[in-house]
């Protein structure tokens, strides 16, 4: 019986290992080739850092990366403010208002991003004539994408909150505003933070909304990569391998830091 168990465990480990390998193989192979002079996978040439140097010296690439990051943090910030206010307000609002915000909030969540991007573009650009080059449609599109997820990550925190604390603060002479910022806000803060983080990743990963709402001369990482795969510039192509590797390393770093700090916080409790 025990032998059977061990065999099962070994089989499980091999299966999981193989799946992880398949999942990471493309990323790792690309990472390896990003340090070589080769422009095609399979043929090995010499070691080089050129791809990384190109990534930061090519103005077009630099602007594209910076623009994507700025857009992500900017729209995530707006989405966090709107989503959090919405969640707190709706939590205390009457049933009808709460229902309206709750249902409307679900629309971009379940909707396909193509439809969200298309409908925002049709309304703002086609009907209202807003110029795409003002970045207004793009930012609004990304806030529409992100704010609902901030709302959804704040709501559970509000539900867990001890409501009597707010009343207690008021009884002790706090103004409603003080009670909100000193009592409610600290309790929902983890939800706000994770909502913001989620908003940033959603904006960074978006292709569909950006493709319908972005200015013609501006590219996010997603739209740039899709265009670059159609082009034939090998220098750009291999610089993007370097970008993929850098993002992979950043993700590992962030996950590791989050995990370690989470573990420390867990030890304190």
């Amino acid at each position: 019986m025990r032998k059977d168990q061990m065999r099962k465990d070994l089989f499980g480990k091999i299966f999981i290992g193989a799946m992880l390998l398949l999942l990471y193989l493309p990323i790792l192979v690309l990472a390896f080739y990003s340090f070589t002079t080769s422009a095609n996978i399979g043929s090995v040439h010499g070691f080089t850092m050129d791809n990384y140097i190109n990534l930061f010296s090519n103005e077009e690439l630099r602007e594209m990366i910076l623009g994507t990051v700025l857009l992500a943090f900017g729209s995530a910030f707006l989405a966090t403010v709107l989503g959090t206010l919405g969640a707190v307000g709706a939590f205390y609002a009457k049933k009808a208002a709460k229902g309206f915000v709750g249902i409307m909030n679900q629309v971009p969540v379940i909707n396909a991003d193509v439809v969200t991007g298309f409908s925002v573009c049709i309304m703002l650009v086609v009907v209202l004539g807003v110029d795409k080059s003002t970045f207004v449609p793009l930012v609004i599109g990304h806030v529409v994408l992100c704010a609902p997820f901030v709302y959804l990550s704040v709501v559970p925190r509000l539900k867990q909150m001890d409501t009597s604390l707010y009343e207690a603060a008021m009884d002790l002479g706090a103004t409603p505003r003080q009670a909100l910022t000193k009592v409610v806000l600290p309790q929902i803060q983890p939800g706000i933070v994770s909502g913001f983080a989620l908003a940033v990743t959603l904006s960074l990963d978006d292709y569909f909304i950006a493709s319908y709402t972005k200015p013609a001369t501006f590219d996010t990482i997603s739209t740039y990569v899709v265009n670059a795969t159609k082009g034939s510039q090998t220098e750009i192509k291999t610089a993007l391998w370097a970008l993929s590797t850098l993002i992979f390393l950043i993700v590992i770093l962030v996950v590791a830091v989050m995990n370690l700090s989470g573990r420390k916080a867990g030890e304190k409790d």
Partner: protein, 266 residues
């Protein structure tokens, strides 16, 4: 606070207005466009056109085929992964789960680029197997979304039920089919929702892997670039209806808060 008495519920006004202007209004606009023609007159032509044209119906069928096959492949791969991880006593299992989720945070176009390079090396020319490559690409893109909800459900599964079934004489296959599988249905459904709908619309995967066949997502784009807002809106509306029906059906089976789109770990 001056003249106006400050009230907590007023805080939701900005967000409610925002939702009204940029979620509700755009929907009304595409409904309007979907049922009018170039002269602004009411028409059902866009609707009947969609269901009578072999081109658009073919696209719908192809989207369904891609979505069904992708979902099945993801299910067949993700269920064993989630099952093994949830049942194992490995000390580092949360780290392994994290490793399965981590690729979601790398921009998907870059991940598909990586996959494309590997597939090109293996196949030489990607154009020979467009459907196969699309399925591989979609699976590669969406697999983590399937693993996570199933893992969460399987982890919560009450182990004493399995022991009870075994004690009452069920063999391991019976225990799995009659206890484990039925109890993991909520996780399976959430996984299916998160894979099926995006694989009907994520045309970038097809684009990047040189599959020139349209799916529903690219169909909207093709009307859009032809300045045909009316037919474009009709496609968007039909897609929205499919999503709505799918969500309403599956909502009954899923647990309340299986976080969508990678939110579960944050």
């Amino acid at each position: 606070m001056g003249m106006l008495r400050f009230s907590r519920k007023q805080l939701c006004i900005p967000y409610a207005v925002f939702l009204l202007c940029f979620v509700a209004a755009p929907l009304l606009v595409i409904i309007y466009y979907a049922f009018t023609n170039g002269e602004g007159q009411f028409t059902l032509e866009n609707l009947t056109g969609f269901f009578t044209s072999p081109y658009t119906i073919g696209t719908l069928a192809y989207s369904f085929a891609v979505a069904v096959v992708t979902t099945c492949v993801c299910l067949l791969l993700a269920y064993p992964i989630a099952y093994i991880l949830a049942r194992s006593g490995w000390r580092q299992k949360s780290v392994i789960v994290l490793m399965f989720v981590m690729p979601m945070w790398i921009n998907f176009t870059l991940r598909i680029t990586a996959l494309k390079e590997i597939l090109t090396m293996i196949e030489g020319n990607l154009a020979f197997h467009p459907f196969l490559n699309t399925i591989i690409g979609m699976t590669y893109d969406f697999l983590p979304f399937m693993i996570l909800p199933m893992y969460t459900t399987l982890l919560k599964l009450d182990k004493s039920l399995l022991e009870a079934a075994a004690d009452l004489g069920a063999d391991p296959v019976q225990v799995f089919c009659k206890v484990t599988l039925p109890l993991s249905i909520p996780g399976i459904i959430s996984g299916v929702v998160m894979v099926f709908l995006p694989s009907m619309t994520n045309y970038v995967v097809l684009d990047m892997l040189y599959n020139s066949t349209y799916i529903m997502g690219s169909l909207i784009g093709s009307f859009f670039s032809a300045y045909d807002w009316h037919n474009g809106s009709m496609i968007a509306l039909i897609l929205l209806l499919i999503i709505l029906v799918f969500t309403l059906i599956t909502d009954r089976y899923t647990e309340e808060d299986t976080g969508n789109r990678g939110g579960a770990l944050l």
